[in-house]
């Protein structure tokens, strides 16, 4: 056990040293594909269906607790959510492949109150154009993916959020 704890500390240390800064900007997807619908549970057992939010802008973030840049961007996502929720923009985190206990423990260290959904078998993730974690998409009110970001971002940066807000 001691060895595992030390290994975890060493891992985090070495990864922190490798971390530099978040990525920048959002990429506009010219083809604007239709966002694949999903129906997933959050950690409290509530069902979220993407198509229920047609007419609203939705930010969809694919992540995992073990993914260093995913953890890195969570606090700024929460800060962004505190602004966006009042503007009618929804933010959703889709966890890839982990269970509710793991996510619950994660939220003790990274408190967020936007919905964290569980894609336990990664079947939803595979339908979206996700290749690595984190990847975030912005879905417009017509249900099309119009922006994408690969890697973490400072989500409460007003310049980053301006094109998202402009979709309303």
């Amino acid at each position: 056990m001691r060895g595992y704890l030390l290994a975890a500390v060493l891992l985090l240390s070495s990864l922190s040293s490798a971390a530099q800064q978040a990525g920048t900007g959002l990429t506009r997807l010219a083809e604007a594909p239709l966002a694949p619908d999903f129906s997933l549970l959050d950690v409290d057992g509530n069902v979220y269906r993407l198509s229920d939010y047609r007419g609203r802008v939705v930010i969809v973030n694919f992540w995992a607790t073990w993914c260093p840049p995913c953890r890195e961007e969570m606090p700024s996502m929460q800060r962004a959510w505190e602004q966006l929720r009042q503007e009618g923009i929804l933010m959703i985190g889709i966890n890839v492949g982990e269970d509710e206990d793991t996510i619950f423990q994660f939220t003790a260290d990274y408190p967020v109150d936007f919905p964290l959904l569980m894609d336990s078998d990664s079947s939803v993730t595979r339908k979206w154009p996700v290749r690595g974690l984190p990847t975030t998409f912005v879905v417009d009110p017509t249900g099309r993916i119009v922006y994408q970001a690969i890697g973490s971002r400072e989500w409460d940066d007003p310049a980053l959020l301006a094109p998202v807000r402009a979709l309303r």
Partner: protein
């Protein structure tokens, strides 16, 4: 916790100025706290960093995600690096790991991609949850980064601990094909965490 990475070698390659930007640099470093070694290639606003992962680290990570001891051991001893790819150029960057080559003792090999790992496991050796964790923790087999994008992921080179190899990378930056080599990469040593 402040961690210092000490650059020990910097090589300036004799590569012409491409895309009106800087020539290639490979910087080698040693983390003064952990002793882990790293290699970072930078050129034209694009960078790739490889950081050693001790087998102990990797073993613990995958056992915690449902791999059997034997299966975790197999991954841990596959010369695993944490890898950070970053595109700070003004052009799209893409790669396919299947195009890359590991040059070791006169032979050429391929990286252990998600698809190659999938083919490794025997029935019952790795649960679905474990395979999902491995799949998503590896650097994507192919990726396209727009300006400002980056990814983290593990890369596996399938060589014994302590092996030295060269990595030939093939990238496309703004439609231009780049073939570059990072030489003298050393697989992480199989030592215990102190």
């Amino acid at each position: 916790m402040g961690i210092c990475v000490k650059p020990v070698t910097t090589l300036l390659w004799a590569i012409p100025f491409l895309f009106g930007m800087s020539a290639a640099v490979v910087e080698r470093g040693v983390d003064t706290e952990t002793g882990l070694r790293s290699w970072e290639w930078r050129e034209a606003g694009v960078s790739l960093q490889l950081v050693q992962r001790l087998p102990d680290q990797t073993r613990a990570f995958f056992q915690a995600r449902g791999f059997s001891g034997a299966a975790a051991e197999r991954i841990a001893n596959a010369c695993i690096f944490q890898t950070i790819f970053r595109n700070e150029s003004e052009q799209p960057l893409s790669y396919r790991l299947d195009d890359w080559r590991i040059l070791h003792r006169g032979a050429s090999g391929k990286l252990m991609t998600r698809e190659r790992w999938d083919a490794v496991w025997q029935e019952g050796e790795a649960s679905q949850a474990a395979r999902i964790a491995l799949r998503w923790s590896l650097l994507p087999t192919s990726q396209r980064f727009e300006p400002g994008d980056y990814n983290w992921g593990m890369t596996g080179f399938g060589l014994p601990s302590g092996s030295t190899f060269d990595l030939e990378m093939v990238l496309r930056l703004g439609g231009e094909k780049l073939t570059r080599t990072i030489d003298g990469i050393v697989c992480p040593p199989d030592r215990e965490v102190n």
